[in-house]
Symmetry: C2
Subunit: 239 residues, 2 copies
C-alpha cells in the first residue's frame, strides 16, 4: 500500500515498538482501565494505520510485560493488578556514574541484610557451601585467575543461607550490574595478590561471623567488605 504518507508515527525504530510504547502509555495513563478490554486487533490496525503483524507484536510485548492478557475468542484485557510488571535497573536519565553508585548501594544494603539473616538461620550445610566457595576462589587466585565468578558464588552462598529465595534471586539479578564495575582490570598487577589476599580474609571474616551466629558481626563484616569495594572504585559516600 501507499506508505509514503505515513502518519505521525515516525518510522525509525521498529514500528511495533513504537506502537507498544504508545499503548503502554495509554494504559498507564488510565486511558484503558484495569480489567477493561482493549480495542480488537482489527480496530488497532485501523487506528494506527499499520498491519496486523505490527499490532500483534506490540501486544505480545505488553503480554510479556504482564500488562495485558489475551483470551482467544474474547479479546485482550488490561491486567487487574499491574503488579506483575518486572523490575528493571536501567533508568536512562541517570549518568553512568550515578547508575553504578545507586545500584551498588542497593546491593550493599541488601547484602548486609543477607549476612545478618544468614547468621541467624544458617545450617551446617550452609557453612559448608560458603566455605567451599571461599576455597574455590582461593584456587582460582592460585591459578592466576581473577576469580570474579567465584567471588560472586560466595555472595550467593551467603544469600542462600537466608532461606529466602527472593534474596538469592535479587542478588543474582543485581550481580551483573556490579561485576563490571570491579576495579580488578585496571589494577596494577603487582598489587593484585595483596588485593586478593585481603578479599579472602574479608570473606573469611564474614563466614566466621555467620558460623558463630553473630548477626551484627556478619552485617558489619559484609558492610566493610563491600564498602571497601566502593572505595576502590572511588565512589564512597556515607553508606
Amino acid at each position: 500500500m501507499s506508505k509514503s504518507g505515513n502518519l505521525a508515527l515516525g518510522m525509525r525504530p521498529k514500528l511495533s515498538e513504537r506502537v507498544a510504547d504508545q499503548l503502554r502509555e495509554r494504559i498507564q495513563k488510565g486511558d484503558f482501565a484495569p480489567g477493561a478490554q482493549l480495542p480488537t486487533e482489527g480496530a488497532l490496525v485501523e487506528q494506527f494505520g499499520v498491519s496486523r503483524t505490527v499490532i500483534r507484536e506490540a501486544l505480545s510485548s505488553l503480554r510479556v510485560d504482564g500488562l495485558v492478557k489475551a483470551h482467544q475468542g474474547r479479546g485482550v484485557f488490561v491486567c487487574e493488578d499491574i503488579s506483575q510488571q518486572p523490575f528493571r535497573l536501567c533508568s536512562k536519565d541517570l549518568s553512568e556514574q550515578d547508575h553504578m553508585e545507586q545500584a551498588m548501594e542497593l546491593r550493599l544494603h541488601m547484602e548486609v541484610s543477607n549476612a545478618e539473616l544468614a547468621a541467624l538461620r544458617r545450617t551446617d550445610a550452609d557453612i559448608e557451601g560458603i566455605e567451599a566457595a571461599i576455597q574455590k576462589q582461593h584456587a582460582a587466585h592460585l591459578s592466576g585467575e581473577l576469580g570474579q565468578t567465584e567471588d560472586f558464588s560466595f555472595h550467593l552462598a551467603v544469600a542462600n543461607a537466608t532461606k529466602n529465595s527472593y534474596m538469592v534471586d535479587f542478588l543474582r539479578f543485581l550481580g551483573p550490574f556490579i561485576i563490571p564495575a570491579n576495579a580488578l582490570h585496571q589494577m596494577e598487577p603487582k598489587k593484585l595478590p595483596d588485593y586478593q589476599q585481603s578479599l579472602r580474609s574479608e570473606h573469611q571474616a564474614i563466614a566466621e561471623a555467620i558460623k558463630a551466629r553473630d548477626s551484627n558481626g556478619a552485617g558489619t563484616a559484609m558492610r566493610n567488605h563491600l564498602r571497601k569495594g566502593l572505595l576502590d572504585n572511588s565512589m564512597a559516600r556515607d553508606i
Copy 2:
C-alpha cells in the same frame, strides 16, 4: 483460578510460548553463547516445524526480556550481558504463604536501609514531604477510609529522601505485592481506629528520627513498624 501454566483443562499453552520457553532454556544452558547469532528465523521454522509468525512471536518475547537483540538484515543475537533481564517476584514453586513472607522480608530489610539512609541524607524538603504524607493519611483516616494509598506514599517519601532513585523504584515495584497482605480488611471495625492511631504514631516516630538525623533510630523505628505489620499477619520470624 490458575494463572498461566495449564495443559490439563483443554487450555493448551500457546505455541509461541512453548517455543519461547525452549529457546530460553537453550540460551541459559549455554547452548547459544552470549554474543552468538541464533539460527535465522527460517532455520527455526524448520527446526520447530511451526510458521514464521510463531517464531517471531517467540523471539519478540525473548527480546522484551532482554535476552536477545534483533538486527535487521543481520540476524538475532544473544545479548552480551544478560544483565538487562528483568527481575520478577513470582516464583511459582513457592506457596502463597512463603511468597508473601519472603517478599515482605525483602521489603522490610530494604525499608530499614531506606530509613537509615534517609536520616543521613534528608533535606528539609524531604521532611516536608514525609510529614505531608503523614497528614494526608491522617485526613484519610478521619474520612473513614483505610488510607492504604497514603500509607504507601509515606514509605515512598522516606525512600525518596535516600536520594537513590533505585530504592524508590524498587519499593514501588515491591509495593503491590505487599499491600494486599495487609490485615486491614479482616480487622474488627471496632479496633480499626486504635490500629490507625498506632500506625500514625509509628510513622511519626520514624519521621522524627529522620528529622533528627538519627540513623540507627530511624532504622529501628522502621523495623518495629514493619515487624508489627508482620505480626498482625501472623507471620513473624526472626527478622
